[in-house]
Assembly symmetry: C2
Homo-oligomer: 648 residues x 2
């Protein structure tokens, strides 16, 4: 077994960046083999990283896992890794270019072996990439674990992870920087914007884009909120005014979604992820199949027929989703029946208890919705796993689609029913307000305060334990304790739930905006607290996530756009159903409907034309990208000319 | 003045490929300078091509232009040019790769200096590219033409062209191959498919894609035509059946358009244009502006502010188009008034002359429509030219959009009026049939037979002239006469009009298919003759066009998809208006309308989902493309590793 020096002196040559936790019953041969593979030189097929075992904690005699390892790297290795992953950094001329060691001195912030060139998040991302691409050589199985087979060229870390030997890999927090970041982010009540560049610096582009979207979305809703306030204050029940509000809303939704694309392109360009080419995607850890040769790489890897996956999707997943939607509809109908029954009981003999009874159906329904969402989420994950997608991105897309459709249906079905079947606008407004407010409060509680409270308890326990053993002058935990503490923190599962929440909020604002103009105000207020609670949760509750070099918000852009299309349909119908508009067509209901449909079609056409007219990438960035491409083409030509000259 | 040897011996080292015709009053210094620039070595900034003057014709004393030059190239120059333009050829392993001289022996059909490797169309395309990229050096103006200024790095040929010194550049036909191609294409009445690969070989990918689309479109309509025939034969006026037909139609239109994308991707992959990267696009010849530095290339070129162009588009072009649409509407209303008046005259005192009078309004209207289309076309070209687009592609897109909208409106407005305002289905069917049949006959006549007849007269005149001077044993014309004959042929202006015709036909089939199922039959019949007349026109009427390495049908795909969306709306409304469907909702018209709208929305949603579900590129080609990309990434990595090793 390899024993490194105790790694808690931060001034030493070794800065721990990433933690590897192996199962406590891992064979010592396997550990030694893994460590040597990580330490081996690149030409011997190793990752050429530094790795040390974490020293025992203060209560080592307890059931503590000894197999925790800290991974770091030399500066040289990080630079060559940055080139491998295709990191984009700012060049001397202000443009973003793929980093290469050969012309490292031409990059802006590069100073000798300067520390400020790569952020810690970038270093951790590079180490993760190097660990992930550490491939088996001639080994047929992991030493000491003959049940874990290895195949030449396959990722070792992924194999160990899917077999449960490698429990987790996570990057370490950076106490000082985190403190600084959290102070400037949510430490003080302020009117300034979020420190997006710092967030990106600490958490990577994917996180920063989410927070930027949250901020953008909040600001974009402010005009709607401002227009909505007088409707509430002066109690305008006048549908003429609602028509104006709804029309403004629909155009506004389209415009903000289009402008967001430009905004995200600008950010992604500044952060160097826009033109970054993705390396060939490896299969996700859970993917299985008959061993064969990948037609693209020619490497040996599990293959799974596409037709079989399609069959699973269309014959099992799709019917299952439809069944769940039907079930959700069924539950909703029961809710309305219960509500009707409670109302009739209350009407017959009104008393305090029947008054309470009136609330019972809504409460039960709200709880049932949450439970159904939760169960469905597990089912969707199981099904998508079972569909056996080769790529993580394709897995994510299918999961998002499934969860999105169900959540949309589950949350909005009752509102649609009230609006279009019962046609009760007063009830619609009430339900909308209740749903919006309760779901927001529940969410904030479940998402941030509950985990924080749990984490706080754990922190205190750890502190007490430490203080029992030694007397601490400084309040800082020793590294060993800090690592073990972070290892126990909850894992941040990505931006999925955060985006989903925003998506549903966007639905509340846009779908029925013409009956409840105050929705935008509530959502703006919610978003402001959301920024704080999300920031807090990122800094204090969760393990640090690996950064994710995202260039846009991906499938969510599509989801928001689909919502804005549905919003056109619902708002037009709601306005068409309003008594004031009906009064314009006293004689003929069909005339009214025809006009409504015509206006709806015009609005939809206008939306599509608008999305064509507004370029997705701002002009200056288009030019920068074109210049980079032009230069690489020119360089290629020159290279060719040189080659020809060499030959002749 | 430079005098080449007479170039009519086809066995000599010099194969003429492209013809340059300079204005007859061009200064001799200018000619000598241009020829030397074309002949100069590459390292001296020349194009390194072969160029010879065309010998005098048999009636040289007449007003014949002596400044006609034949351009050819050595085999070596063509190969290096193929690399410059990024030509994709079939590799040994069957994949398509960018040709490079360095590994020319690894390409499939390359045999030493083999003639069969590059097709004549490819050679001509390469020569055109080399001529276009011949750039001015230190010359400030064209020798002998001080009014034609030159700027370092600007294309000489484009400058000469825009100043009228260079009258035309066109590639020569290849008599033997053309004879063979035209025989296999339209020479015999046959049931087999068009020789697409031969067409691509002779005319290039853009042309071949058009003919492939024409063929695909015809076959795609056959099921609709087959279903449509019984409706006509058995005189089914039953709307139940029409509903089925229309529903089938709508789904079918979506499916064929989606499948076409896959089909065109397969072809473009096979022809090597799919993954071909476009070189940086130079400004179009007509583009003007203040001289400045292009922000992308850093080269000196005219600049024109984008905002100014946008102002011209939105403040002039857009209002103009709207005005034209209004005018077209106005003319249509006059037509209906005239028709009503003619009908009333006929009803009052029916006689032979009033019977004739009944046809007069339609005839006048048909002629007016054609005249308006023609005038509008010129106006659109003028306006788009005036908008001063930098790129040819952007110019084309704006022109297509303008012409498309107006033609759509002009051709279909009267049908829409009859269908939705007059609600006269019998008249709609009649008008549809009349419009469809007459426009087809007119088109075929204007497009192929008239130009052919003119060309034939010219050919005969030339033949007579030649035979007057010499006694010809063989019927072949000497090269000099042949070149002059081709120079006089009409210029093929691209596939624009051909696609526009198909677009309008698609409109007739899809928009009102549920009232006139026979439309598909007529369009299929038309398309079959269209294949022959278009083929004939390409082979016999027009100058050979330069090949255009297109990877898809571009903006037309979008146009056809937009048409199929509009078709959903019109067909749903037509069915909703039918008396049989109305009979299902005897009590409430609004119920009927709501159902119609609901079904329409479902169909539209289904269309969009379908277009998401069907991948645009077939799986095997996706894999091939991914493999190429993967290999280039791997090669890059290896190169980097070598570089690092070199340095250390």
């Amino acid at each position: 077994m390899v024993q490194g020096p105790p790694a808690d002196s931060s001034g030493s040559r070794f800065t721990p960046l990433v933690v590897l936790e192996l199962a406590s019953d891992t064979n010592q041969d396997a550990i030694a083999w893994l460590l040597s593979r990580i330490r081996d030189q690149q030409q011997d097929g190793g990752a050429e990283l530094l790795v040390e075992q974490l020293g025992p904690g203060v209560d080592a005699q307890e059931k503590e896992n000894p197999n925790v390892f800290l991974v770091g790297a030399t500066w040289q290795r990080l630079l060559s890794g940055a080139e491998d992953v295709g990191l984009f950094k700012e060049f001397n001329d202000g443009s973003m270019r793929g980093f290469t060691c050969a012309n490292k001195h031409d990059f802006k912030d590069y100073q000798g072996d300067g520390d400020s060139f790569l952020s810690m998040a970038e270093c951790q991302y590079i180490i993760k990439h190097l660990l992930d691409t550490l491939r088996a050589k001639q080994e047929t199985h992991v030493p000491g674990h003959s049940e874990v087979k290895l195949y030449p060229g396959k990722s070792i870390v992924r194999r160990l992870q899917s077999k449960g030997i490698l429990v987790q890999v996570f990057p370490l927090h950076e106490k000082e920087e985190l403190k600084r970041l959290s102070f400037s982010w949510y430490g003080k009540v302020k009117l300034s914007l979020q420190p997006l560049d710092d967030i990106r610096h600490y958490y990577g582009e994917g996180q920063a884009l989410y927070f930027c979207f949250l901020e953008y979305f909040t600001f974009a809703l402010v005009p709607m909120a401002l227009i909505g306030v007088p409707y509430y204050l002066f109690d305008w029940e006048d549908y003429d005014k609602y028509v104006i509000f709804a029309a403004f809303n629909l155009v506004w939704c389209t415009v903000i979604l289009e402008l967001w694309k430009r905004c995200s392109a600008s950010l992604a360009y500044r952060w160097g992820t826009l033109s970054r080419k993705k390396a060939f995607e490896e299969p996700r850890p859970g993917f299985h199949g008959v061993l064969g040769f990948n037609p693209v790489t020619g490497r040996e890897e599990p293959l799974y027929p596409h037709a079989k996956r399609l069959l699973r999707i269309y014959l099992v997943s799709l019917p299952f989703v439809l069944l769940c939607l039907y079930l959700s509809l069924y539950v909703m109908m029961i809710y309305f029946q219960m509500e009707g029954w409670a109302l009739s009981v209350h009407d017959q003999e009104p008393s305090f208890w029947t008054g309470v009874l009136l609330f019972i159906p809504s409460i039960i329904y709200a709880v049932v919705i949450e439970v159904m969402n939760l169960i469905y989420r597990y089912a969707a994950e199981f099904l998508t796993e079972w569909e056996n997608h080769r790529l993580e991105s394709s897995y994510q897309n299918h999961l998002v689609l499934k969860v999105l459709v169900f959540n949309f249906f589950n949350c909005f079905a009752s509102l649609f029913y009230i609006a279009f079947v019962m046609q009760d606008m007063v009830l619609l407004r009430q339900s909308l307000a209740t749903l919006l407010i309760t779901s927001q409060i529940l969410n904030q509680f479940m998402e941030a305060f509950l985990p924080y409270w749990l984490q706080r308890r754990r922190n205190k326990k750890m502190m007490r334990k430490v203080q029992k053993r030694r007397t601490l002058e400084d309040k800082e935990l020793p590294l060993a304790e800090q690592v073990r503490l972070e290892a126990d923190m909850s894992t941040y599962l990505g931006t999925f739930d955060d985006y989903l929440e925003l998506f549903l909020l966007f639905g509340y604002v846009s779908l029925f905006s013409c009956v409840y103009p105050l929705a935008a105000v509530l959502v703006v207020l919610n978003n402001i607290t959301e920024v704080y609670s999300d920031a807090f949760k990122m800094c204090r509750v969760f393990k640090r996530p690996f950064s994710d070099p995202a260039a846009n918000i991906g499938v969510w852009q599509l989801a928001f756009e689909a919502m804005s299309v549905i919003a056109v349909v619902t708002n037009c119908s709601l306005i068409g159903m309003s008594p004031q508009v009906k009064a314009y067509f006293p004689d003929s209901e069909s005339q009214l409907i025809l006009w409504t449909v015509a206006i709806e079609h015009v609005l939809l056409a206008f939306k599509f034309i608008l999305s064509f007219l507004i370029p997705d990438v701002p002009k200056p960035i288009q030019i920068s990208l074109a210049r980079l491409e032009f230069e690489s083409l020119e360089a290629l030509k020159k290279k060719l000319v040189v080659n020809v000259a060499d030959r002749s």
